[in-house]
């Protein structure tokens, strides 16, 4: 607990309460899930019941109406406690698109259900096998047909689709050769997956190196109502971009939590483990990587705060959100590396949880955007260098 003023509210009361909740879900719970590749149902239920996943939903729709910094504090503490927020973090930010661009009717219909936990909205279908970050070249189509749309195509890396009731889907409604700008002609749909599963929608889990419940989705003449369209037809790409800064900032906060978990765990071990008659933490070879990782994670935390402050003030924060995500994911990786080295052979033993967190935190140098694309963004949009791709 620090008395230094921060750029955004620290939310210490919320952090304390989240840590208490997380204490009920210790290492053995996560190791069991990891072995079974199972979804942390009880953990997500506890978070939902305590209202944390509805932190950002306005009070009028049943949430707590808190600023993004509260969501960042919640997710950071989850990671810092050794838990894994990836199972449900999307519930926090996916609804933002509906909130900002959905109709009043859509908001009234869906947000209270999401806030109460009766429905889960944590599947975000954007990426396709042939179009990664080159989002505008996606080939899934939604063609107007009478009172609805017919969707055909395929999505990949759609996380939690098997554990979500609703899905936000980005599809092309006007062919690319018929629009002026390639960013036009894409539309966002809020799809009730319960109605289309097995009727045009099939979900295929993708086993990965960690327990992440990701999937690929296949749409075959999937019929959805016209009331699924969020905002205006053809403007979906901008709607999705709007939500990406929030996503990056929240994931950066999670990485800061990971970094802090690794460092706390490694420092405790380095102080206790005695080799050659003294704690290994007395050796600079052990100290320096931990000290460096600490410096990196504190710097990343400041960048997260900077991004949050700009986001909450409503000024552009793309550069800060991207830098925060890059720096925090690298700090978490450095901390994980230092932690595994500090633990020696024990770092590889499942019961120390380090190898699990090590695998889990690696993801964030790749998703939701890879480090190279962040660097390209900074080079082009912040430094004014020519576009490289």
């Amino acid at each position: 607990m620090s008395d230094i003023p921060r750029l955004v509210e620290a939310h210490d009361d919320i952090r304390d309460a989240v840590r208490k909740l997380c204490a009920d879900f210790p290492g053995p719970y996560w190791r069991w899930l990891d072995r079974e590749r199972a979804y942390p149902r009880d953990f997500v239920a506890a978070l939902t019941e305590a209202g944390y996943l509805a932190a950002l939903i306005p009070e009028e729709y049943g949430g707590s109406g808190l600023p993004l910094s509260a969501a960042a504090a919640i997710l950071e503490e989850i990671q810092r406690a050794g838990c894994n927020g990836a199972a449900c973090h999307a519930q926090m930010y996916v609804m933002g698109t509906v909130l900002r661009h959905g109709s009043e009717e859509q908001k009234r219909r869906w947000l209270p259900e999401v806030a109460s936990g009766r429905l889960r909205l944590q599947a975000f279908a954007v990426t396709e096998p042939t179009s990664g970050t080159d989002t505008t070249s996606l080939s899934t189509t939604a063609v107007r047909d009478g009172d609805g749309y017919v969707v055909n195509g395929q999505k990949v890396w759609t996380s939690r689709a098997e554990h979500s009731d609703l899905m936000l889907l980005l599809a092309r409604t006007t062919p690319r050769d018929q629009v002026k700008k390639r960013t036009d002609g894409l539309s966002v749909f809020l799809v009730d997956m319960r109605e289309v599963k097995g009727k045009g929608l099939s979900i295929q889990p993708i086993p990965t190196m960690m327990n992440h419940n990701t999937t690929e989705l296949f749409f075959e003449d999937m019929r959805i109502g016209a009331d699924c369209l969020v905002g205006e037809e053809g403007k979906g790409f901008r709607y999705i971009l709007d939500g990406m800064n929030a996503e990056r900032i929240l994931i950066a906060a999670e990485c800061v939590g990971d970094a802090r978990w690794f460092i706390e765990k490694a420092v405790t071990y380095a102080n206790e483990r005695v080799v050659f008659g003294r704690p290994i933490g007395q050796n600079q070879g052990i100290q320096f990587p931990l000290a460096r990782a600490h410096a990196q994670s504190e710097a990343a935390a400041l960048m997260v705060d900077s991004a949050l402050a700009r986001y909450e003030a409503g000024v552009p924060c793309g550069a800060q959100a991207n830098m925060a995500k890059m720096l925090a994911s690298e700090a978490a990786w450095a901390a994980g590396e230092a932690a595994i080295q500090t633990h020696g052979g024990f770092g590889f033993a499942e019961e120390y949880d380090i190898e699990r967190k090590f695998r889990e935190t690696r993801l964030y140098q790749v998703a939701p955007i890879s480090t190279n694309l962040i660097l390209s963004y900074l080079a082009e949009h912040v430094l004014g260098l020519p576009r490289s791709y």
Partner: protein, 249 residues
């Protein structure tokens, strides 16, 4: 009925405590503080009484520095209706706390006062008993079950030999043991609501209580480092060592 719950701000139970270098006490600067775990059990019990319709109002009270407000907000987030802080920078010993609580009780007239059986910092285990004595009220300490009916309370107490059940008249001072309940964690909406609940501040002067310590702390030291055990070759040696070295038989 109205329930008053006393909550103390202590060093968090997860923190590995350190003795100050001048041996005057335990280091509390830059240390995470939270509600005494036994007091959390007391708050939980009071909130459950309210949820069951037995209690009509739950008032949380804390005594100490300004930051005790955070501890009170935790109690409010768990479900207490309002809070009172008796604010002082002075060192408070159990007798002073009991005297202050007596004055708060005089103002609030609760039917029951719930406290943790002891605080995990000084482990005094005195405040509840002292308060009951000062008030001339019944006491049910080390409670693992409290049942209220018809102006009486049945308290199951955890005593050395097992469980003891006492039947007492209200008003009552009860102190909570570990097995009374499992405290809830506050939900996000309740944390937000707690920020708006009333929190009044009083001072020992306003309550007319002299809180000057009656006991002097001479020295606080780390416990001696535990020595490693030894292995003995046979039972005869063990018995011999128990007789001649440990002198226990």
């Amino acid at each position: 009925m109205k329930v008053l719950v006393a909550v103390k701000r202590v060093v968090d139970y997860n923190v590995k405590i350190r003795v100050k270098s001048d041996n005057t006490g335990v280091e509390t600067a830059n240390v995470k503080m939270s509600m005494n775990p036994f007091d959390e059990i007391a708050v939980e019990e009071a909130v459950r009484l309210k949820e069951a319709g037995t209690a009509s109002e739950v008032v949380a009270v804390s005594l100490g520095v300004k930051q005790c407000q955070e501890t009170l907000r935790t109690a409010l987030a768990m479900g207490a209706d309002r809070a009172i802080l008796v604010e002082t920078e002075a060192e408070l010993q159990p007798l002073a706390v009991a005297k202050l609580l007596k004055e708060v009780v005089a103002k609030e007239s609760p039917d029951m006062v719930l406290l943790g059986k002891q605080a995990i910092d000084d482990d005094a285990n005195q405040t509840g008993q002292m308060l009951a004595a000062l008030m001339g009220w019944a006491q049910g300490t080390f409670a693992s079950k409290i049942t209220l009916a018809d102006g009486k309370a049945e308290v199951v107490r955890e005593v050395d030999g097992g469980l003891e059940t006492v039947s007492v008249n209200l008003p009552l001072v009860a102190t909570t043991d570990l097995r009374l309940n499992e405290p809830r964690y506050a939900s996000l909406p309740n944390i937000m609501k707690a920020k708006k609940k009333p929190l009044d501040t009083l001072t020992p002067d306003e309550l007319g209580v002299d809180v000057a310590p009656r006991l002097t702390t001479l020295k606080v030291e780390e416990p001696p480092v535990r020595q490693a055990g030894i292995k003995v070759p046979d039972v005869a040696t063990l018995i011999d060592k128990l007789k001649t070295e440990a002198k226990v038989i």
